[in-house]
């Protein structure tokens, strides 16, 4: 029983990171039917911005909570700017054109981010300060939880909760949900659709950045290539939950995290990706609307 619970804990921790990135995919896709291939790479950019702050600029020497707050806030703002740039310069001009053109451009954007990161931060693996957070933990029953795990999952849940509260309780959040149904009808309510799309990109970027920093804090090692697989897993999570469906993306993220943990634990790390892709392909063929159903713009 021991290993199972351990894998579960790991799975849920990492799953919460995936959930954040999946939310970014799902929010954007729900409104404008675009797979922002760069979503995973935004996470990577966030991770590196956090690293720059903590290591290059030495923020790690500040009191812990200051360092951490800065390590989250600055990357979130930075990636928000990057994602807005991608929207304005690359996606917006093409939104009315063919699907093929947008997909290829999105792919190009992902490549661009990856290789720019390599240029700026170098191809080598960089490391978050390993002793920043306390390494010990506590026992909850038979299971050992590190303080890092608890803290990071807590932050993830906080962010997710904040997003859900925003979407469900505020008028602007409701407007965002409405955009997943009918753009013209939304316009007739006085809703500035373009502004809401920008907001979606900002939110998606911030969540991705947060997850990147968390991955850095958790795994310590980061590299410019980390966005690729992360993005694919998060996209699988979003599809699993039903693209455009926010609670679905969160659930999907957790499930993918668990799948990954169990596969690595019981089988071997070599087949992890194959299984994740297998899940993606199976879902798309058998139940393309996902476990919880899609929420996608019918009328744009």
């Amino acid at each position: 029983m021991g290993p199972f619970l351990e894998y579960t804990v790991i799975g849920l921790t990492v799953g919460s990171f995936y959930a954040l990135v999946a939310l970014g995919y799902t929010i954007v896709y729900g409104i404008i039917r675009l797979i922002n291939f760069a979503q995973g790479d935004l996470s990577m950019v966030g991770a590196f911005l956090g690293w720059t702050l903590l290591v290059s600029f030495g923020f790690q020497r500040l009191p812990l909570y200051l360092a951490l707050i800065a390590a989250f806030v600055v990357p979130m703002l930075g990636t928000a700017v990057v994602n807005l740039g991608i929207l304005q310069f690359a996606y917006k001009p093409l939104l009315k054109k063919s699907m093929l053109a947008i997909l290829i451009t999105a792919l190009g954007m992902s490549l661009f981010l990856q290789n720019s990161a390599e240029l700026i931060w170098g191809p080598a693996i960089q490391a978050y300060p390993p002793n920043l957070l306390p390494a010990n933990g506590l026992f909850m029953g038979p299971v050992h939880l590190t303080y890092v795990q608890i803290a990071l999952v807590f932050v993830s849940l906080l962010l997710m909760g904040g997003l859900v509260a925003f979407i469900q309780r505020t008028t602007v959040g409701t407007a965002m949900r409405a955009l997943a149904v009918d753009h013209d009808a939304a316009r007739l309510m006085g809703i500035d659709v373009d502004a809401i799309i920008r907001l979606a990109f900002v939110l998606g970027a911030m969540l991705a950045a947060a997850s990147g920093v968390m991955l850095g804090l958790y795994y310590v090692q980061i590299q410019f290539t980390m966005g690729f697989l992360l993005g694919l897993r998060a996209f699988t999570a979003a599809v699993l939950g039903g693209i455009g469906n926010i609670p679905g993306a969160m659930a999907g993220g957790m499930l993918i995290g668990l799948l990954e943990a169990y596969t690595t634990g019981y089988l071997s790390g070599k087949w992890e990706d194959v299984l994740v892709f297998g899940v993606l392909i199976t879902v798309l063929i058998v139940k393309p609307t996902g476990l919880f159903g899609e929420r996608v713009a019918e009328r744009m």
């Binding site: 316009r187 309510m189 009328r299």
Partner: protein, 244 residues
Amino acid sequence: MALLEIHDLRVFYGNIEALKGISLEAEPGHIVAILGGNGAGKTTTLRTISGLLRPRSGSITYGGKSLVGMQAHAIVAMGLSHVPEGRRIFGILTVEENLNLGGYLIRSNQGLVKERKAAVYALFPRLAERRTQLAGTLSGGEQQMLAIGRALMPDPKVLMLDEPSLGLAPMLARSVLKTVREIANRGTAILLVEQNARQALAISDQAYVIEVGKIVLQGEAASLASDERVQKAYLGGFEAVAGA
């Protein structure tokens, strides 16, 4: 000068001229009916006024200000509300949330939003009973009421309705149109596009009949109601039978 004036409006869908020079007027407290067969251009007219479509030429003036080129959400802010064809309510949101979105422009004043919602519920008691229900589960008539209520939230000076009686049983259609008359009586200018010519003319003040993008008849609703040409415009008159 009328509150809303449209002059010589020309609208194209690609190469096809959908509106070939439409002119009409609307005044506060009056209902202007826009009638005509399918594909005549009635919906196109409303969509152009509310900003969802751009005209090739012509003018749209509201309170002296030109609306041409303005974005749809800005036009709503100026006081024109459009209830689109097919209602287009947000099915995955509740009745209450739909109304909240109707009040999007006044969202910073939640007290005012509450007030307006109460007014809508007073006008449509059926909606009040269903405020937490998902809008997609409402009946056709209730969805229509919701669509109108939603459009009333920003307290518009001009209300445009596209086929509100579509898909409704006759009694319900009558009730909805009665409510539209009440709204007009409170001072709102109303543009009413309808297939149901007789019922529309019964509550309207003025009427225009559009055919293939042009206005072919216009005048006081009362006189048009007894005009034989209206029937001809819809049913092709008493022409030769097939084979001639």
